[in-house]
Symmetry: C2
Subunit: 367 residues, 2 copies
């Protein structure tokens, strides 16, 4: 998407063939673009969250393999690269998928052919992500267009949580793709951006995206969405998903569930942008079956931001001695989800609906 | 309550008759106790939120009148003091109540009798607040005791939002009073403290109270309560209220409504600690009738805390150019409230229940 008028992806090859990424640790205060030239640099970029978001982590890992293959295309190098990159974020499902895909493509080839094949496959993985997100956006655009038709001349107010934006993908984002498409189609939109404590990905990343691309938006605390829905100020909710079960339960950033409850209580449609690779066909009951990561309490007791003197610092908000609990995700039961916006179209959040939309994927997962 | 073993109120006369308060702006990082010696100092303390919380604001205003009467007990002084203190926080209902009460008490007296009468009435207003909160706590204790009986040997997990603690009152607090009483009765409790963005009163004040008094607690982000309730980690919710309608709709700090929705969805009892002066008998439908204050967006785009160098600073979390919406309160419909913990006992959150518990107050309000 655009940064002050110039189109960007989150990862790309420059004119010299060097892979460049946006180092997202400095957003929203500073836009830093850095080259990644060695496998070690790719590993650091993933581990230390210069890049984040499931699709972007996968794309970055794919390029990490490609860069290593140009340096050493041996079988040992390929095997070691899978291990080195996988251990950077071992629970990231897209990371593993991308590494498996690169290995599957490269292992049968003679080493001398691997560098070119790896670069081609990494570029294709990026393009495939962009295409999935573009299609999600086109299907979501129709939902927004239908709401816009009910309130001509007034903006469609869309609430989103966390960052399922283009910064989490290669381009478009998932939850944001319908928003960018609506804006491009001339439909007036206004986005309520949940700040999304504890890591504030909404305030730091989604607000930055909206600001950079020029989408009207308002930052709100995570507490505010219920009140806004109660008063008719939200026309729809769109969120992303980290993992979706075969019956449509949605595991996403902590707090998503509270917004889904408020949406249902107030008759606000609640959509989940769902790239099909995020479906976990082996799991049915998300609340019972999905283990929720508990992250460091320091994420709760401190907040990072820009101090008046310009430095980026983490300030402590609670007393010395107070400890915190920090579940990172929650599960929104399928019954609270109005629909799943997938790359193939709008799908009911039910086992039957998902099986009908993705019979091939469900069958493949059963093998 | 206690600060590291020593009992405190939030406002008191010291041995020399000087009124002392805790300057709450420095919590949780520093305990500063300051004397208030002139009407101007009382006005500053209320306006600049050295003290906050409806009951404490009222008590502070009452002492402000008393201090001024010792200096100048004339009719003109009394009238001017009402105006000067009222304009410090003109929407605070307890402030107005306390000022009216002081004027009602003092106006009929000869000026020479006013200083002593004012000090006596201010002290009585403080004691009355303590007694209301103590009784709320005793009624809430029985609710906690009943839950404790269902899980012997394990702590009762109580979630609270914002600070309806002793720092918001003269002592005990409202929502915290049942917790302090349970702890004193030897019932093991553990408190989930919502940080309560945007001003983080949970992280800054409630966590400090719990920490200082020695109540086991965990700080959580406002997003986490739904997940914890889904997984049986919360036995009950107790919150305060800024204003309660005659049918039991509860206007409280933004985000309360989302926790009430999650409590109902998961069968977790949701109690509101309600001192009867907080009931607004003229209002029925809280969502439609109560105007919600929108505060500065800067409260959302910045977070105050202690920097690594020890300074208290506000850091900016969002990009330059992003603006925020900041509704300060929301309304929890009565249907989501399990019960109202009042100084007279546990009361259903219904028009009939409230009328039966407070027939005298309802009749007086109708006059």
């Amino acid at each position: 998407m655009k940064i002050n008028g110039t189109p960007y992806r989150t990862i790309w090859q420059d004119a010299d063939g060097v892979v460049q990424v946006i180092d997202q640790r400095w957003l929203p205060h500073e836009l830093r673009i850095v080259p990644l030239c060695t496998r070690a640099e790719f590993a650091t970029a993933i581990r230390d969250m210069w890049v984040r978001g499931a699709p972007l982590i996968g794309a970055t890992a794919a390029w990490g393999v490609a860069v290593q293959m140009a340096d050493d295309p041996s079988d040992a190098s390929l095997a070691e690269t899978w291990e080195v990159l996988h251990e950077t974020r071992p629970t990231a499902i897209n990371l593993r998928w991308a590494l498996d895909e690169m290995r599957r493509t490269l292992a049968p080839l003679p080493p001398g052919d691997r560098a070119n094949a790896a670069a081609a496959r990494a570029a294709a993985i990026c393009d495939e992500d962009v295409e999935i997100n573009r299609r999600i956006g086109l299907h979501g655009l129709e939902v927004i267009r239908a709401i816009a038709a009910t309130k001509p001349g007034r903006p469609v107010n869309i609430l989103t949580h966390c960052n399922a934006g283009w910064l989490a993908t290669v381009d478009w984002g998932t939850a944001t793709s319908p928003i960018y498409h609506a804006d491009a189609a001339g439909i007036p939109v206004h986005v309520f951006v949940d700040e999304t404590r504890p890591r504030n990905q909404g305030a730091q990343l989604t607000a930055w995206e909206m600001n950079s691309h020029g989408i009207p938006h308002s930052l709100i605390v995570d507490n505010a969405g219920g009140h806004l829905m109660q008063h008719g100020e939200v026309d729809m909710v769109i969120v992303g998903t980290d993992r979706t079960t075969a019956r449509g339960d949605v595991c996403n950033k902590i707090g998503t569930y509270l917004k889904a409850l408020a949406a249902q209580a107030n008759g606000v449609p609640f959509y989940v942008a769902l790239p099909s690779p995020t479906i976990d066909w082996r799991v049915q009951d998300g609340v019972r079956e999905i283990p929720i990561e508990e992250r460091s309490g320091a994420e709760v007791t401190t907040v990072q931001g820009r101090a008046p003197d310009g430095r980026i610092v983490a300030v402590q908000i609670s007393p010395d001695g107070t400890t915190a609990r920090n579940p990172a995700f929650d599960v929104t039961p399928a019954g609270l989800v109005t629909g799943l916006l997938t790359e193939r179209g709008l799908c009911p959040a039910t086992a039957d609906g998902m099986a009908a939309m993705f019979p091939d994927l469900k069958a493949a997962a059963a093998d």
